[in-house]
Every structure is written in structure tokens, then in C-alpha cells.
């Protein structure tokens, strides 16, 4: 603001270096303390009388760094109770941690080299098909990275006897963007819904006010990710596609037909286009990538050989999501998956894959937010 006003402050050079270091998990810690304060203020939550419980709620280590955002009303009650962890809960905790680690170190980390090479211009490949594959890979990298972290956090908490709500529920299988946001980073989207969207009117005050509330909420969510225009555009694209969806209801009848699954790739492409802006270094790079995506120009597929490892891992990620879809649609598949030996085999294979097929260690993407 000072810069815009033409006032030269040069404050940055006077801030001691140490003061610029942000506390770990500041953003998630802030969300949680805000939700406690607002809920108490609104009379929805009785203030806790145990200060240790309050600080345990704020600093619970599994989710402190990158979520999921836990609500005070959910966790304070659990802190007040004696916890007897059953062997069934422990098994589920181990399963969550194994699957979470698999998502992070096998899928997300093995894709990162390919994606970073593309965005940092370290490869000569540049065609339309190349960028489609890069963006599909990035969609799965960010999903598996964050979903993996959330699963590990939930598993750790569960092992100690706490229950954190689900944070990701296969968002790329959504039939609408509205559904996407009930499956992606659920704890953040419900936080924005409860503390921003509904307080400013939600959808109860008519279509126009509903759309305004939607845009405000989405743009705020974009801003939360960082002070970069790319995040604003990412949020704006989601707001735009969601507004169109809400105004035209183009997918409503389709989602009830027997061809409803065809909506999955359409919604995925909408999210994918938005991800371009989320990942790109600046708007120019993002615009250029979107241009290439939709140019459908002939491409050199040599990258599939150069980045064979990433291609196989991406195919595996797609296959896993497909198997989840099959499980949802087919009772026989769901029953098969419920069998003990299948469960044991999948968890064991996930553990072994984490050992032998882990990618280059990379920081969790959401640690930066």
C-alpha cells in the first residue's frame, strides 16, 4: 500500500532477519483459533475451562503443520474423554498412514521431477500433448501430496485415539464443481463455508447474492494460498465455472442419467485448467500453457520415454482412482475390497512400495501455505 502510494518506507530492510521467520503451521493454527473464538462468540461452543485442553487443541502435532483444520467443537469433546484405542482403530490408523505415505512418497514425489522440469523449462518438450500430461500429473501430484499428508495426520491421531474428519474424498470423481468442493480439502472448504460464505448470506438471499458470496469466498480462499495473482486467477476460474454451473444447471439432468460418469473428465478438465494458474510461476507462463493445451498442435511423444518413471506412476494413480470408481459403482468390487486378505495385501504393498519405489524426497506442497 505504501509502495502504491509512492511512499518509500524501506521497512523490509529494517526488519531483523529472525522476525521474518514464520512459526510452523501459523496458517492452520490461525484457522483453528479463529473458529474457536467465533464459535464461542456466537454461543455455539462453551469455552473450555481447561487451558491445557485449549492449547492441545491448537497445537495437536499431527495436523498442526498442514491440516486438516480441526474444529474446537470436534476435538475439545474428545480431549475431555478417556481414550481407549481399540485394535480395530489401530488397524485403521496403520492403514491410513500406509496409504498416506504411499500417496506422498510413491505418487507425488515420483511425479515432481517431471512436473518441475516442465515448469522450470528444463526440458525441450513443449507440445500440446506434453502439457496435457504435465497438468494431469500435477493434478495428481498436488492431490496425492496433500491428501497423503492429511491421511498420515488422521492416522497418527487415530492411533492416539482421536478422530479427525476426512479431508479428501476422491475429488477427481466429482460430477460437478460443487461436489468437487465437498471432496477437496474438506476442512478448509467447510471452514470458508461456515465462517465466510454463510455469514455473508450464502445462497439464501437469491441467486445474485449467492453468486457474490461464492465469488468472495473463492477469492478469499485464493488469497489465503499466497500473495500472488496466480492464486487469485485460480480461485476466479473455480468461481466462474461454479457460477456457470449454478446459473445454467447444465450438468444436473446429465448427472442423473446413466452416462453420468462422463461428467467426471469434464469436471476434471475444469479443475485442471485452474491448476495451471495455481502451479505457474506467473500469469504469463500460465496463459502460455493454457494456450498450448488448447492448441491441440501435434506433439513429440518422446517425453514418455524420457520420463518413463513418472508416466508409469501417473498411470498407476489413474488406475487407483478408476478402481475407486469401480468400487463405488459395483457391489461385487466393494465386497471384494472388504475382504481381510485384500486389505492386508494392499496395506503391505503400500508399505513395500514406499520403501522401494519412493521418489526423491520433497517437502509437502502445503507446508508453504
Amino acid at each position: 500500500m505504501f509502495a502504491l502510494s509512492g511512499i518509500k518506507t524501506e521497512l523490509a530492510s529494517h526488519i531483523p532477519k529472525f522476525a521474518l521467520i514464520l512459526p510452523v503451521g501459523i496458517s492452520f493454527y490461525t484457522f483453528q483459533s479463529m473458529s474457536y473464538t467465533i464459535d464461542v462468540y456466537r454461543g455455539r461452543l462453551k469455552p473450555t475451562e481447561n487451558i491445557l485442553h485449549f492449547f492441545s487443541y491448537l497445537s495437536m502435532f499431527p495436523q498442526l503443520v498442514a491440516g486438516p483444520i480441526v474444529r474446537a467443537k470436534d476435538l475439545l469433546v474428545q480431549l475431555e474423554q478417556d481414550r481407549n484405542v481399540s485394535s480395530h482403530q489401530r488397524w485403521n490408523a496403520i492403514k491410513m498412514m500406509a496409504y498416506g505415505m504411499f500417496q506422498k512418497v510413491v505418487i507425488a514425489d515420483n511425479l515432481s521431477l517431471f512436473i518441475d522440469s516442465a515448469f522450470e523449462g528444463k526440458t525441450a518438450f513443449d507440445g500440446s500433448a506434453f502439457w496435457w500430461v504435465v497438468m494431469i500429473a500435477f493434478s495428481f501430484q498436488i492431490y496425492c501430496d496433500f491428501s497423503g499428508y492429511s491421511l498420515i495426520a488422521r492416522g497418527l491421531a487415530k492411533y492416539m485415539g482421536y478422530h479427525f474428519k476426512m479431508n479428501f474424498n476422491h475429488p477427481y470423481l466429482s460430477l460437478s464443481l460443487r461436489e468437487f468442493w465437498t471432496r477437496w480439502h474438506i476442512s478448509l472448504s467447510t471452514w470458508f463455508r461456515d465462517y465466510v460464505y454463510i455469514p455473508i448470506g450464502g445462497s439464501r438471499r437469491g441467486m445474485v447474492m449467492g453468486l457474490i458470496a461464492l465469488w468472495v469466498t473463492m477469492l478469499l480462499s485464493g488469497l489465503w494460498h499466497g500473495a500472488n495473482y496466480t492464486f487469485i486467477v485460480w480461485a476466479a476460474i473455480h468461481a466462474l465455472f461454479s457460477s456457470i454451473e449454478r446459473l445454467t444447471k447444465w450438468n444436473k439432468s446429465w448427472s442423473k442419467s446413466r452416462f453420468s460418469d462422463l461428467l467426471i473428465p469434464i469436471i476434471f478438465v475444469q479443475a485442471l485448467v485452474a491448476w495451471v494458474y495455481f502451479r505457474a510461476a506467473d500469469i504469463d507462463q500460465a496463459n502460455s500453457i493454457v494456450g498450448k493445451l488448447f492448441s491441440f498442435a501435434p506433439s513429440d511423444f518422446g517425453f514418455t520415454q524420457v520420463y518413463l518413471n513418472a508416466m508409469v506412476v501417473l498411470a498407476l494413480a489413474l488406475l487407483i482412482e478408476l478402481s475407486i470408481l469401480v468400487r463405488k459403482r459395483s457391489t461385487a468390487a466393494a465386497v471384494l475390497y472388504k475382504r481381510s486378505h485384500v486389505d492386508i495385501a494392499f496395506v503391505s504393498l503400500s508399505i513395500v512400495a514406499c520403501i522401494f519405489f519412493r521418489g526423491e524426497g520433497a517437502q509437502f506442497i502445503y507446508f508453504q501455505f
Binding site: R90, L308, F356
Partner: protein
């Protein structure tokens, strides 16, 4: 199945699979672990020998001591950018077998091995400085953990790529190395930069000659050669290094050493400096023939 049994079954299955795969999956090429093992092994584990090869990278890549003689115990104690300093020669000399039948020292002489920077022997020093834990880790822990190093799809299904860089670490201290496709001029630029900033230290040359003289008096056989390199490299070194091979050869022979003249044209390098494996083996056999 009860949840507790599921946990136990998963732990057992994961353990069995992990151990099985650790030994059956193709090994991942983690060169840094193997390279460290190679150098630590050379510095601390090689037993004393009757025949020792000394010098810099042209010697440890270019001479396989076991091909010089299959009767004598032999090791290659050459290091990267090694210089013939007192410390290095003492290190080499301490590795001669006390009760050996023979005492043979093969010196790979390069102009760079008399330069001020090489005389610091930083490569060898870096291993000599390591504490006990670092040595133990590099020699035993890291190579064992390599069984559990992550594999890529390329490790499981190697693809024929036109570009390959090969390094095989032999227990006798020879490093078999090659690059495909080779570039016979690649190393020239680096050496030109080196000799722009450094020259052969004539006092180091004199020290080596006196060392050869004193070793010869103990009954040892000292063989000297300039390991073959590309003709362009030889021309560059002769013109810029300040090292005069002819004068050195005369002094070396006068001190009791045996000099072998090797023709560069008969050998091929992969980078303009180092010999290809087959040429390294041929050179080693030529030295062996001289011994016979």
C-alpha cells in the same frame, strides 16, 4: 479376521516382501554410495601388497593391477588429482607387504601430478580425515542400506539409451570407466584452465626422483610411465605444464627406475584424458609383459 491379526499379518507380509525384494530387485545405481565405498575401501581396507600402482585418475582408471601380475599381490592406490608429495609417497610406501617376495611400484606420471594444487592431495586427505563412524558408515552401513535404495522403472526395465556413463569399482582399486558416446576432446578445456593457473613444481619432481633412488636402493623395482592419453591432451600438457618428459625420464632412469614409453596413438580415450576399459586392460598387460 480380527483387527489385531490383520496388523500382525500385515507386518509379517511387509517384512517378508521387503527382504525378498531387497535381494531380488535389480540394484539401484546409487553411484555416490558405491564411489564412497570404493575410496574408503582403497584407503582403509586394502591389504598390503607386493605390487602397487600410484598416480592420479589416469592411473586408477587406466591400470588394472591384477592384469600386471597374477602371481603377486597387487593394489591400485591412485587417487583423483593425486600429486607426488612426501605424504602421498609415504602413504603408498606404507602399503608394501613387509614379507613380500617382490616390491614393485608402478608410477603413472602426468604433468598435473607435480602441480601445486595436486600436491595437496585433497582427495586422499578427505578420506584420511574421516572419523571412525564416517568410515564405518561409508564402508558397511551405506552399502547395506543400498539394498533398500529406491528403484525406478528404468532400473527394472533398462531402456537402451544412446547416452551411458559407466563406472565399475574393482576391489583392487581399479575403476573401470567409460562414456558412450565418447568425446575425445571433452577434458581438454578443463586441463587448459588448470595449466593457465598452475605449473609443474620442479622441487616435487626432484623429490620423486630422490624417492625412487632411495626405494631402488632397498631392492624395489620402480616402473614409470606416462599413461597414454589423447594426442591433443599430450600436446596441451607439453606446451602449458612446464613438465619436460624427456628430462624426467633421464633422471628417473638414472635413479634406478625403469621407464616405459607408450604410444598414445595405440590407445583410445573416452573423454580425451582417460582410457577406455579395454585399452586400460591392454596397457596393464603391456606393463605385465615387461615384468616377465
Amino acid at each position: 479376521m480380527a483387527a489385531k491379526n490383520k496388523t500382525i499379518a500385515t507386518l509379517i507380509l511387509s517384512f517378508v516382501l521387503t527382504i525378498t525384494l531387497a535381494f531380488t530387485l535389480p540394484r539401484s545405481e546409487n553411484r555416490s554410495i558405491m564411489r564412497e565405498w570404493f575410496w574408503l575401501s582403497k584407503t582403509y581396507r586394502l591389504s598390503d601388497a607386493e605390487l602397487i600402482v600410484a598416480g592420479d585418475s589416469r592411473a586408477y582408471r587406466g591400470i588394472d593391477p591384477s592384469l600386471i601380475s597374477d602371481e603377486l599381490t597387487s593394489i591400485n592406490l591412485a587417487y583423483s588429482a593425486a600429486g607426488f608429495s612426501k605424504e602421498y609417497l609415504d602413504f603408498v610406501g606404507a602399503h608394501f607387504h613387509e614379507n613380500g617376495k617382490e616390491k614393485i611400484l608402478v608410477l603413472g606420471i602426468t604433468p598435473y601430478s607435480f602441480s601445486t594444487s595436486s600436491l595437496k592431495n585433497e582427495h586422499l586427505e578427505s578420506f584420511l580425515k574421516m572419523n571412525t563412524f564416517q568410515r564405518y558408515k561409508g564402508l558397511y552401513i551405506n552399502p547395506t542400506l543400498q539394498l533398500f535404495e529406491p528403484r525406478t522403472i528404468e532400473d527394472l526395465y533398462p531402456i537402451n539409451t544412446s547416452k551411458q556413463s559407466i563406472e565399475v569399482y574393482h576391489e583392487n582399486g581399479w575403476m573401470e570407466s567409460n562414456e558412450l558416446p565418447g568425446d575425445s576432446l571433452r577434458a581438454l578445456k578443463g586441463y587448459r584452465t588448470i595449466f593457465d593457473n598452475t605449473r609443474a613444481d620442479l622441487s616435487a619432481v626432484s623429490y620423486l626422483i630422490s624417492y625412487v633412488d632411495s626405494l631402488h636402493e632397498t631392492g624395489a623395482l620402480i616402473i614409470g610411465l606416462r599413461p597414454p592419453t589423447s594426442p591433443q591432451m599430450r600436446a596441451l600438457e607439453d606446451s602449458l605444464s612446464g613438465f619436460d618428459e624427456h628430462t624426467f625420464k633421464v633422471q628417473f632412469e638414472a635413479a634406478g627406475g625403469v621407464w616405459i614409453d607408450v604410444k598414445d596413438e595405440e590407445f583410445a580415450t573416452y573423454d580425451g584424458s582417460h582410457l577406455r576399459p579395454s585399452d586400460a586392460q591392454r596397457l596393464s598387460m603391456i606393463i605385465g609383459e615387461l615384468l616377465e
